[in-house]
Symmetry: C2
Subunit: 323 residues, 2 copies
């Protein structure tokens, strides 16, 4: 086995660190889904996680691992999505200032929201600078601890607590479906799953419009995607993370992708039948199952991670109008 | 105490009858709501009930009380909403045919949906006929068992299992808020609550546009409302039921009403913050609490019933657009 950045002991330690701070999210089931798939399907509801997505697990673990001195200096990240929101909450809970680096063409509402939860926002020109480079440079200059959205062992260890809780609650699974952007959730959950339920197949699900992970997995070489177009905005990452990719190669059994129409169709089942507000990225794994992209093992026990529920309600109408 | 149509023993018996068939719905909490109200608030999630609303409790109880001969002859109701959907499922589970009487100006989609789940639909001209009269007449002519939406002891007993489960799970409450249309859920829950937590205040919540229940409660005489206008379509009932009204007078402490804007505001918190799909009627009780119509007892333990989650996703955009 290659030397991976995270192992199961790191995840078990993270679970202890975030216990009582992160939510132990509920598992839901649906007679409709079971009938439709001919299997027993369990949904791990990270849309009910604090700050509305699994991201809080990693953010909480990472901030709790900072030394008192690091906490006093502050944290820096580059993300305007669920990671930023989760990290803002995690930083607030340990009284650490947060700086967020964002492209200067980011929607004003996102900049305002980031400032709204107390973060300092630094804008940059994405044509001139890469966010990773700027982030590292600023972190070093200012003595801030960089906590990126997925490419970090503490983030992966935190994310892995999701599958750990899931399997501890429902017992061994035959198949686990997890969405994939940069691979933080997928890599962490794959480590937990292969440790707790070695016979369980783990499959990562990406949007068609950002299928770099699928291509990386098939070719075993890190592939990139430029400016991915998909409604699954949480999976618009340019590539899998450097530490995430080897973990995925080692512990994940397959990677697939689904279309935006398949995502909306899955969201309709989650919202209409299961009464769960789940964002497009959060419905990727459900789409792979319900649309038959991944065949359900007959009578099998299937776990599906619903990764988040942060949607703009004003845009929900147009999302479902076409379906 | 007046001679009421339902008592706690009926509810306890109903709970036994529907156990393992109706869902034992989860209770959810929200740090945001607790901070905002300065209280400890518990939400009983009947949106996760089978057929998407508390109505299945009464429908299940009523159909299970039919004799084998009655089951063979069939059931009749007049309702095109959640009660019809719940009753259709309950009838299917005991293999009983269902006939639904609907006004001939009902939306085609509702007629089609009713036929879709196997019910025979009989249309009538609402200018010529009252649904209760036609329902009774048809039931008698055809030997069908009439199961109306709220004005029936088996329906009330079934609905009362909601508050019974709720208090058994979370312990005694200081205040329970329940939405009110015809008063089936409110009357049943009030009986359970006063039996299990006698010190708990029970308050019914109606939409401003259909506040006949509030007026009936204040005047102690049954008031009616003609053609109520509100987004809370489950509460568009012309008056409280005849058996529900005396129970409400006996066991309910107060009745209030909320505006459509307050309902949408509450729905926004439920959807955006709590990730729960709840229909407008299902958000009535939440609106009374979050909009301050009912003051939260400082540090108190408050129960809120989310009665259902059946919404038309295509209309969600317009609902939230104005808020």
């Amino acid at each position: 086995m290659p030397d991976l950045a995270v192992n199961y002991e790191d995840i078990a330690a993270a679970a202890g660190r975030i216990a009582g701070i992160a939510n132990r999210t509920p598992v839901m089931t649906s007679r409709t889904v079971n009938e439709r798939t001919g299997a027993e399907v369990f949904f791990k509801c990270e849309n009910f996680q604090r700050a509305g997505a699994f991201k809080f697990r990693g953010a909480c673990n990472a901030t709790r691992r900072l030394t008192p001195e690091q906490r006093q200096r502050g944290v820096l990240t580059y993300s305007s999505g669920n990671h930023a929101q989760a990290l803002a909450l995690a930083c607030k809970l340990v009284e650490t200032p947060l700086t967020i680096v964002m492209p200067d063409d980011a929607p004003a509402v996102k900049v305002a929201a980031s400032r709204g939860y107390g973060a300092e926002v630094i804008l940059y020109d994405p044509d001139q600078t890469k966010r990773e480079q700027l982030g590292s440079k600023l972190a070093e200059e200012r003595g801030l601890s960089l906590i990126p959205p997925y490419d970090h062992p503490h983030i992966v260890a935190g994310a892995g607590t999701c599958a750990k809780e899931f399997i501890e609650e429902v017992g061994p699974l035959d198949l686990l479906l997890v969405c994939c952007g940069g691979g933080g959730l997928l890599s962490g959950c794959a480590i937990s799953t292969k440790h707790l339920a070695p016979g369980c197949r783990v499959i990562g699900v990406e949007p068609d419009g950002g299928d770099d992970g699928v291509r990386s997995f098939k070719t075993r070489e890190l592939q990139r995607v430029a400016n991915p177009q998909t409604i699954a905005d949480g999976a618009k990452t340019p590539s899998l993370g450097r530490i995430n990719f080897p973990i995925i190669l080692e512990h994940v059994d397959d990677m697939v992708s689904v279309s935006d129409a398949q995502i909306v169709s899955a969201m309709r089942v989650l919202w209409e039948r299961m009464k769960l507000v789940v964002e497009p990225t959060g419905a990727l794994a459900t789409a792979a199952l319900l649309e038959g992209v991944v065949p359900a093992p007959r009578g099998g026990r299937i776990g599906v991670v619903l990764s988040g529920g942060n949607v703009d309600l004003a845009r929900v109408g147009e999302l479902f109008a076409g379906a």
